[in-house]
Amino acid sequence: MQSRTLRYVGKRLLQGLLTIVAIAGINFLLLNALPGDVVDVLAGEADVADIAYLEELRARFGLDQPLHQQLLSYLGNLAQADLGYSFRYNEPVLDLVLGRLPATLLLMVSAIILAAFFGIVLGVTAARFANRLPDTLISVLSLLAYATPVFWIGLMLIVAFSIKLTWLPSGGFSTVGANLSGLSYVADVARHMILPTVTLALFYMALYTRIIRASMLEVLQLDFVRAARARGMTRRGVAYAHALPNAILPMITMVGIQVGHILGAAVLVETVFSWPGMGRLAVEAVFQRDFNTLLGVLLLSSVLVILTNLIVDLVYARLDPRIELG
């Protein structure tokens, strides 16, 4: 059993690696679709017109080589974990992106947990009171949350909680210049996290609510639920202890399918709240025409998607022993 799991993980990682190579190829093509090359951009900014110098620079970056040669050396560099250099930040792209990864992960994971928790509570409640008032209210709320642009709800929350009520900071990772340490630093970051996390979570909360409601309605029809009721369990007890564990799998699948989607939404949330994550780095890179960095974000976020999908599938197989990895 163990070795089978290991073999499965190995196979998936290999597939993932191939996908990453293909994405790197696409990245390379996109870089080449840009009008002009890095040297042109640099020359334009530094106002250099010395053609001999520009040619020398091209030779140094390998830009005078034929395209397939360039692709090979691009992939070769990638194999050595070299994603290129950001001339804007004067830092290797890999270090730059990895440096921003923890903030994004923190935001994403807390948003998913929040969304899953409330999605479950609301979904179970809606299913228990199907077609009655609580169900209607929850359905209307989730329809609205499902249709709201994530960046806009973020701005509205800033208006309400930062500007009008002044309860929470409107952006940033921690209070600038506060020099906090230990627990007070954690508390400060937590305060800064509340609005971005809620903003990112709302859409997914609505989605999970809908999924949980539907699968709960299905499970609540089954005989074992009636049997549990007959043994004298309360309705709520049956719903949470017996039905929910059987109804939760579709939501977990959804989390796996949507990691990429959440990462994309995080770009917008990070921009709204000046959250120093990968997404904001991507947006900054767009405006500084720093394409090495932009494509580095695309590549590493794809790696993140592949790894998360693998983890979700493993968790899934653990939760449901009927599912065989293979």
């Binding site: 996908t19 293909a22 994405i23 696409i26 996109l30 870089l31 679709a33 840009l34 329809l143 609205l144 499902y146 249709a147 709201t148 642009p149 994530v150 960046f151 806009w152 701005l155 509205m156 800033i158 208006v159 500007i163 539907a214 309605l217 299905e218 990691v259 990429g260 989607h261 990462l263 994309g264 939404a265 770009v267 917008l268 921009t271 997404g279 991507a282 947006v283 767009v286 405006f287 394409f291 932009l294 494509l295 974000v297 695309l298 976020s301 794809s302 998607v305 592949i306």
Partner: protein
């Protein structure tokens, strides 16, 4: 029009059956009304407002109701917000519809070919869809628009690029199922060629699920367009709701109505399309009763 599409199997919903089921669904009718309002705004924009969306017509920072003739007030540069709302509806609908239509076209072609021919064709095409689906859609869209400079066309193409794989998978699944049905097998036995079988037998039977998926796709395309515009990645010659939010953002502290109004427009448009999509789903798949 949609009603004439044959259902995926057995019971063929008649025209009146479709409308009856649709009209009985209150949420779907509300969705239809919302969508029709947005369509009317887009079509009648020049007749409903005397000002262009870019014209600086009044004092900046007029709150809604502050000045007669400027129903929703003016933005940071004194531009008429109502006019921006009308012209923004054009951009949202145009990009949402064209991007979705392109995605449906590509996705249907890829899915049908992959599912019908199987083998290597299938493997290669499905690997391609997988590769695209691995990249976070919003980030891929940002990259495409940034690389090819933001215009209406590149935004549409970017959204189509990230959207077609979902359709391709759907159509492939349907095609795989239909390929083994008796009516397709008998067409094969009668010597009908593959192209004709795909076009006359397979695709018409995929239409219902594709229509339902596409209606939801329009709303997500509109959300992505708004997000891109909010990030500054929109056609500089087109007034869009996302752009209005981005410009209003600098005045969030004092004039939050500038951000609120276009956001509500996006919200109601997307809500309308989602309700409409749910309604279509129930009406086109009468046996999948709403749970």
């Amino acid at each position: 029009m949609l009603a004439s599409i044959p259902a995926s199997n057995s019971v063929e919903p008649t025209r009146s059956g479709f409308w009856r089921r649709f009209a009985r669904n209150r949420a779907a009718v509300i969705g239809l009304v919302l969508v029709l309002i947005v369509v009317a705004m887009a079509l009648l924009a020049p007749y409903l407002s005397a000002n262009g969306p870019w014209d600086m017509v009044q004092r900046p920072y007029l709150w809604p109701g502050d000045a007669p003739g400027f129903l929703l007030g003016t933005d940071t540069l004194g531009r008429d917000l109502f006019s921006g709302l009308l012209y923004g509806a054009r951009v949202s609908l145009l990009i949402g519809l064209v991007a979705t239509a392109t995605a449906v076209l590509i996705g249907t072609a890829v899915g049908a070919v992959a599912g019908y021919f199987g083998g290597w064709t299938d493997t290669i095409l499905m690997r391609l869809t997988e590769i695209i689906q691995t990249m976070p859609p919003m980030i891929l869209a940002i990259v495409i628009v940034a690389v090819f400079t933001p215009t209406v066309t590149t935004v549409m193409l970017a959204i189509a690029t990230i959207s077609w794989p979902a359709i391709a998978r759907l159509v492939r699944g349907e095609t795989l199922r239909l390929r083994n049905t008796e009516f397709v097998q008998s067409c094969l036995a009668l010597g009908m060629n593959d192209g004709r079988i795909i076009l006359t037998q397979i695709l018409p039977n995929c239409l219902a699920p594709v229509v339902v998926t596409a209606s939801v796709m329009v709303s997500s395309a509109i959300l992505i367009e708004a997000g891109l515009a909010f990030l500054g990645l929109s056609d500089p010659d087109m007034m869009s709701w996302g752009l209005m939010i981005a410009t209003g953002r600098e005045a969030l502290r004092t004039a939050w109505y500038i951000v609120t109004i276009p956001g509500l427009a996006i919200l109601f448009t997307v809500l309308g399309l989602n309700l409409l999509g749910d309604g279509l789903n129930d009406a086109l798949n009468p046996r999948l009763k709403e749970r």
